[in-house]
């Protein structure tokens, strides 16, 4: 069975919590582990926060979240029409941030990569950014690893 949702929202800090809870709610019928739910919530939070902070800044704009479940494979796309990323490869380096003034840690993409099975970033300056992530659910370890 294939199941899909699409959420369009304003790029506001107030919507970051809603976005991750909505995606978590979408996958609950698959009975994912607590670990898996938190992994997905963290990745969504990172991508949506990036759209709020980096893509639009003060002037705001729209964020579109598309989720697709094919069996136990979760596919997430988070898209903005903001300023885009000049050098995606550099942006994905852990600890790299263009906003140290806002106390950003530069770990956003690193966490998306660590907590999901795959991460792809497509971006064009002046056009926007598309983050694509996938995770197979129900395959996590029974006991969350300590390391």
């Amino acid at each position: 069975m294939e199941n899909k949702i699409r959420i369009e929202m304003e790029a506001l800090p107030e919507n970051e919590g809603f976005a991750r809870v909505a995606v978590a709610a979408f996958i609950t019928y698959l009975n994912p582990t607590v670990e898996e739910i938190t992994d997905v919530k963290t990745a969504v939070s990172e991508a949506v926060t990036n759209a709020v902070i980096h893509a639009y800044g003060e002037k705001g704009g729209k964020i579109v979240i598309r989720c697709d479940l094919q069996g136990d494979l979760l596919h997430i796309e988070i898209e903005d029409a903001g300023k885009g990323i000049e050098n995606v490869e550099q942006a994905m380096v852990p600890l790299y941030t263009t906003r140290p003034d806002l106390e950003r840690s530069g770990m956003g993409f690193a966490f998306m990569e660590a907590f999901m099975d795959s991460l792809e970033v497509e971006s064009e300056t002046g056009k926007g950014t598309l983050v694509i992530m996938e995770k197979k659910l129900g395959s996590g370890p029974w006991i969350p690893d300590e390391e």
């Binding site: 919590g17 709020v52 106390e103 950003r104 390391e147």
Partner: protein, 102 residues
């Protein structure tokens, strides 16, 4: 001052919220910096007892406070962090800057 922040000697204790994200972080940093200046704080203790979720915004808050206290020889401590929080802090290279306590 609310119960999120507590000052004991020159220690600022911060009881972190259930969800540490971009939105909650802005307020924590703002209030912490204010209290640190006014009370000549030397060390900061982050208490993760209530925390169930943290994204990379939280890393920025801890690193930012570390930068402020470490130039005067101060320390940043983390207490009651579960294995996930510890993993996040370790991945971000913060375990070299902070001290974990139970």
């Amino acid at each position: 001052m609310n119960e999120t922040f507590q000052i004991i000697d020159h220690y600022l204790m911060i009881r972190l919220p259930e969800e540490i994200d971009h939105k909650s972080c802005r307020e924590i940093s703002r209030q912490a910096d204010h209290l640190m200046l006014d009370n000549r704080i030397e060390h900061v203790v982050f208490d993760f007892s209530d925390t169930k979720f943290m994204d990379s915004s939280g890393v920025g808050v801890l690193a930012g406070r570390y930068r402020k206290v470490s130039c005067f020889g101060g320390k940043v401590y983390v207490i009651h962090a579960d294995s996930r929080m510890k993993r996040i802090l370790r991945m971000s290279g913060l375990s070299k800057m902070i001290e974990f306590m139970e």
